[in-house]
């Protein structure tokens, strides 16, 4: 410690604004240096003068307590008032967001207002979701499917959640209850992209779950086991011709109130477009060549618990899978039978299931995107969502329990405007 350092830090020393070690050094320095000690004493004098000058300790004030207590409203925070205040606060908390959400939902979707002008949203959805219950072959042209759909009067298994309701504070709970109830009534209604696919299958081979297990997903997202409901109008012989084991009874239809996949949002694609679901891709499990294993050493993408890993070789349409714990490797060969579906995104859903988003295109024309979950152990796949629209793309996927939340970007006005909608696909099983 020298005098310069001491002088520089003297103010901070007086204000007790220096580290302890520096304070000790300065004290030691003061013991040895008379000049610095004098400086310190002068600073102390200034400090004392400031305290004395500004001190108000000698002023005798009159207490204002009684005046203050007389002027305040002592009942302001009494229980009843607090309850009323909280009640209004809670009402505001609930009511304002719901009102805002409804307003946004109404104005953000130009189609919704159009539909409202011609009938209720539910009616429009019902009309637009005349989904053919039959298994439709992958090669069926989109236009043909569309025509068939328009002739059907069946109910789709998707429910639009964002309903306008006067009972604002019950919207969410009511909707959820409804969905869960419906799901319980029809647990086996899921869209299965792959079903149980044989390894040597040359054509798309989709088999109906043979044990009637209620938890097994059923192809095409339609409830096909309900024999009690007559089919109102099904005429699609062509589409069923190519299927080895037709799993859908043309004469049966799904009851209106038994949805299997519930999608919430402003305008679910299924409802809006009313297109039937197909089985566009399959994943065939095959053993993996050792040389390939060696090549892929550094490229594996591990699952969250590091029990499995995958690598997607895009140009070969091969999804390589490694069982890290058992040191086994295999590949899932992607069979894409229609147009040109290419994987746009791949990521882990849970420890043994992948999310894969396919982009469907033909030449330079984009037909939309499809989201699947794929069990890496078996190759079983489940179609979760389809955009049906070249302007809509999946930009975010998030699993929350049994539900999957999707963020869909809609490109409007020739790419000059984007809007984002959130959908929830309910009750998507983790075991496929």
């Amino acid at each position: 410690m020298n005098c310069n350092v001491f002088t520089k830090n003297l103010d901070k020393f007086i204000a007790d604004d220096i580290p302890e070690y520096l304070k000790l050094d300065m004290k030691k320095h003061m013991m040895a240096c008379q000049n610095c000690r004098m400086l310190y004493e002068e600073e102390l004098l200034l400090e004392r003068a400031l305290y004395d000058t500004l001190s108000v300790d000698d002023i005798i004030f009159e207490s204002q307590k009684q005046n203050i207590m007389n002027k305040i409203d002592v009942n302001k925070y009494r229980k009843n008032n607090t309850i009323n205040f909280k009640m209004y606060k809670n009402l505001l908390k609930i009511g304002v967001p719901i009102a805002a959400a409804i307003t946004i939902a109404f104005f953000m979707n130009p189609l919704s207002s159009f539909q409202n002008g011609n009938g209720t949203i539910q009616q429009i959805a019902k009309d637009n979701t005349k989904i053919h219950q039959n298994q439709i072959d992958n090669n069926v042209p989109r236009d043909q499917s569309k025509l068939e759909i328009q002739q059907k009067d069946e109910t789709k298994t998707i429910e639009k959640i964002a309903k306008v309701s006067n009972n604002n504070d019950k919207i969410e709970s009511n909707s959820n209850e409804k969905i869960f109830d419906k799901h319980d009534a029809n647990k086996d209604s899921y869209i299965n992209a792959g079903g149980h696919i044989g390894n040597n299958s040359d054509k798309t081979s989709v088999t109906k779950p043979d044990d009637g297990n209620s938890h097994n997903p059923v192809n095409n997202g339609e409830a096909i086991n309900d024999n009690e409901k007559p089919n109102e109008d099904v005429d699609d012989k062509n589409t069923s011709d190519n299927i080895e084991e037709p799993i859908v009874d043309d004469d049966k239809e799904l009851p209106e109130e038994t949805p299997s996949l519930a999608v919430s949002g402003v305008q679910p694609a299924f409802v809006a477009e009313g297109l039937s679901l197909r089985v566009p891709v399959s994943f065939t499990k095959k053993p993996l060549d050792l040389s390939v294993q060696y090549k892929l050493l550094d490229y594996w993408n591990e699952s969250p618990d590091k029990s499995f890993a995958y690598y997607l070789l895009r140009n070969e349409d091969m999804l390589y899978v490694r069982d890290v714990l058992n040191k086994e490797n295999w590949c899932l060969e992607l069979k894409i039978d229609h147009r040109e579906s290419t994987p746009k995104y791949i990521g882990w859903d849970d420890n043994d299931t992948l999310f894969i988003v396919f982009q469907e295109s033909e030449g330079e024309i984009n037909f939309g995107e499809e989201l699947y979950t794929v069990d890496v152990k078996t190759g079983n796949a489940l179609m979760i969502y389809r955009t049906f629209d070249s302007k809509r793309s999946i930009v975010d996927i998030k699993r929350e329990g049994e539900n999957i939340k999707l963020k869909i970007n809609t490109n409007k006005y020739n790419n000059y405007s984007n809007s984002y909608d959130e959908y929830t696909v309910y009750n998507v099983p983790t075991d496929i």
Partner: protein, 192 residues
């Protein structure tokens, strides 16, 4: 000002007041009344006015207690309210320039030699003049520091400026004081 930092006790009293327990507010009043009186007096330099403004401060505190954010210190919150009331008052009556610290300050007696006493009084007079010439924020920093014994951190919260800014201003003021006192002692009597 250490006694002001019993944050937990203050929070309990605030919560109890919000539940309708007026005695808790009285406890807060007992705890902070003199502090606020002194703080306001140090800024206004008028006893009656300080008492009136103190009333106003506590009535505001009571009426807005449900907006108090419990993440912060109650002491800083009430000091900010007091400071704002003082500023409102000064603006209102346009007396800020007329207020003179010297008129209201009585120096505590202390045992010193006549020479020391004379020198000390000169320094004190000099300080009074110097404080009166400070800008508003600097004056509040000095007042809070020496009349309320507030820490830099508390001053920063009360004045809503950063702690580093408070320290910078404080050390600058002290440096000016020291330099000018040195000049005064050398016999110039004026800053060159």
């Amino acid at each position: 000002m250490d006694h002001l930092f019993d944050k937990e006790e203050d929070l309990i009293l605030v919560q109890e007041t919000l539940k309708g327990n007026v005695q808790s507010f009285e406890a807060l009043l007992d705890k902070y009344e003199l502090i606020i009186l002194k703080f306001i007096y140090s800024m206004i330099r008028d006893k009656e006015t300080a008492e009136d403004i103190t009333q106003d401060v506590f009535i505001t505190v009571y009426n807005k207690l449900d907006t108090f954010d419990s993440r912060y210190k109650f002491s800083n919150w009430i000091m900010r309210i007091a400071r704002n009331k003082c500023i409102d008052y000064i603006r209102k009556i346009k007396k800020s320039k007329e207020l003179n610290i010297e008129d209201c300050i009585s120096i505590k007696s202390r045992e010193t030699s006549p020479e020391e006493r004379l020198e000390y009084k000169e320094i004190r007079d000099f300080i009074v003049n110097k404080i009166n010439s400070l800008d508003n924020v600097d004056k509040q920093i000095i007042l809070l520091r020496y009349s309320q014994k507030a820490t830099f951190n508390d001053i920063s919260k009360i004045l809503d400026i950063s702690e580093s800014s408070v320290k910078r201003r404080y050390y600058k003021i002290r440096e000016q004081f020291r330099r000018q006192i040195d000049l005064y002692k050398e016999g110039c009597g004026y800053e060159l």
